[in-house]
């Protein structure tokens, strides 16, 4: 398969332009989306397209690793944090330093042009050797990479373990909350509930009235009186309790009495 791709056929050109289009689109989407969660989805698009481009470049192992590590782990971590922070998290469009945004865009575009034209002119005459020979040495791409990791790149490989330990340790230090009081057992919790002066059982359900059973209507207790305990706290705080029309209660009572007699 690699040989066919290497030959510079139409297939690869097509793959390149499609993936290039989508990855640039995704990258632009990432930096212009107002909401961080949209940025993350655009980013995932870029990463999947890059994975395809890796495979097209005789790097099947990296393509898979890209999918597993980046789209599978890194982007999920990002999305997880976004869910935690709130998906609505968005950017303010107010500039703290005037002209900073324009300056940033100009600087970035300038660097981009420098890179694109610099690389373009420096590399125009270069020929591609292709990886068939290199992949053939160890009879496969994965074997070749493994060979290099355990010979030429042994020390960096060993040192990355320090990095992973640091990451685990750091995440734990910043996120792990220790208890400074022992966790209460079920029995202690129920004792505490009955010992206090509060309401030990369930609070009454929202109001049950002939005309209003909305949440903001006080509940009717079995003895005919009403109670505000059924109203959710936030509504009480906002002062949103619907007043009980006692004439109506009496009217209902009268009708029921009348019906019985």
């Amino acid at each position: 398969m690699n040989a066919a791709v290497q030959a510079g056929n139409v297939g690869e050109t097509l793959v390149f332009w499609i993936c290039a289009f989508f990855s640039v689109l995704g990258a632009l989407g990432l930096i212009v989306s107002r909401k961080a969660v949209h940025s993350a989805l655009w980013m995932a698009l870029v990463m999947i397209n890059l994975a395809i481009l890796f495979v097209a470049n005789s790097a099947p192992f990296l393509g898979m690793a890209q999918i597993v590590v980046y789209t599978g782990a890194v982007m999920m971590l990002f999305l997880f944090v976004l869910m935690m922070v709130g998906v609505d998290s968005s950017d303010s469009l107010i500039e703290t330093i005037k002209g900073q945004r324009v300056a940033g865009i100009l600087l970035g575009i300038g660097m981009g042009l420098l890179l694109v034209f610099g690389l373009g002119s420096a590399l125009t005459n270069s020929t591609s050797v292709g990886l068939d020979a290199a992949n053939g040495v160890d009879k496969g791409n994965v074997q070749g990479i493994a060979h290099l990791i355990f010979t030429d790149y042994l020390i960096p490989f060993e040192v990355t373990s320090a990095l992973l330990i640091t990451a685990a340790l750091g995440a734990m230090v910043l996120a792990h909350r220790e208890r400074w009081i022992p966790r209460l057992t079920q029995m202690q919790l129920s004792r505490a509930r009955f010992a206090g002066s509060g309401h030990p059982g369930n609070l009454p359900n929202p109001g049950i009235y002939a005309r209003h059973n909305a949440v903001d209507t006080p509940a009717l207790l079995p003895d005919g009186s009403t109670t505000d305990l059924s109203i959710p706290g936030p509504l009480v705080a906002r002062g949103g309790i619907r007043p009980v029309d006692h004439a109506e209660v009496d009217e209902v009572a009268a009708i029921t009495d009348g019906g019985q007699s």
Partner: protein, 519 residues
Amino acid sequence: MNPIMASAPALFTIRSVDYRAISPVLIILAVALVSVFVEAFVGRSARRPVQLVLVFGAFLATFIDLITLHATRLVTAAGSVAVDGPALVMQGAIILLAALAAMLMAERMVDPSGDPFAARASSLPGSVDEAEFSARGYFQTEVWPLLLFSVAGMMLFVSANDLLLMFVALEVMSLPIYLMAGMARRRRLLSQEASLKYFLLGAFASAFFLYGMALTFGFAGSVNLGSIADAVSAKPSQSGLLLLAVAMLSIGLLFKVAAVPFHQWTPDAYQGAPTAVTALMATTVKIAAFGALMRVLYVAFGGIRWDWTPMLWIVAILTMVVGSVIAVTQSDIKRMLAYSSVAQAGFILVGVIAVSGKGLASVLFYVIAYGFATIGAFAVVSVVRDASGEATHLSKWAGLGKKSPVTGAVLSLLMLSFAGIPLTSGFIGKFAVFSAAIANGATWLVIVAVIASVVSAFFYARVIVLMFFSEPTEATASVVVPSAFTTIVIAAGATVTVVVGIAPQPLLDLVNNAGLFLR
């Protein structure tokens, strides 16, 4: 017999690694692992003493190991690690300065509530949790393994002869410092903000380094510094690619040395981080970053020095001028020291531009002298306090010299050294760097540097004047009597500054005998 087994030996030839030569790094890494296990298995109250024994034991063992290795000059592990004179000298300096920074981290007498680090970094600032953890005497002992990992990263960073190992070492060095920067006990919001800014800009810088590495790989077909140097001398045709590669790599490294215009993180990170961590950032990280910068530029790209020195000229001039001028306007001592460190980075770059053995030796001398003076200065900053913690605003330093003459005198000495006044180590350092640059024809650069150091002398002198020539007021902070830890750091900073200033020959011999980078 199994055919796979039979063919197995032919698959791999294990590269020989001279483990003796890289043993200093291995010792630190091994102790860091033990230290992680201590966190997991040792009871809470015993952790701190055990960790202190481990950390200082590791530093001592490593330093002795480095002394026994002092004559080693070799490249090992498939060319990825160079154990040469400059690397060994810088590793020794990193160990000594990291040990001093560790003493500041271990200080318990200065802050009335104990540690310089938050009781639990995970508890919210100002919450009941935080108060409970403090009251119960919890301490975040995880900073010790983090410190060790970071030091191991620095030591590898200065001896990496391979851009990939350099990149990995850069991250091993930086990640623990990003974390530690956000763990201050007081002013935690500032500290967390410093951590975030340092992290984001550090990651941005390492992306530049990485892209430069990719272009270098494209040019040379290898990321080994020796092979890059061969490719540079063999094929000058693709110089556009090569120049972009050098520019990108330098941007990544210049971020770490805090050169203008890549210095924006410095004041915020220095001010917000716990002072002990700031001391670590300002000394050991700076040494490591200059070591790596010089190794990349000298070893890999020495062949095209005429292409990158003009760029470095501009950066050096900007760094000296901007650092010195902005430092004059600062009203917070930690921010002032941050801009001062930016300006000092500019002076060191003057030595880097010399591109000669003399330049290398002078830079080694300068970073060591500067490192000791800086760590002393931050130690002094950590003991000047008022009710709210460290009194970093300069208005609180008015008349401090009259209130506490010894502290005032020590800080004045260190400031004079920063300013480059004769009989201090700073003077010899500046002299060495400037004469190396002049020997290489960079006279105009040295003239700018001298003017910048006159400007910088102004704001250093301002602190001295403020301390000794104004009357102490109600607002003047007081000097807390520290334990032996901080006292040792202040004494070491002052002693090295004076001794090297008066008798610089031993240190000059050391850096001159270090020789050149191997490849």
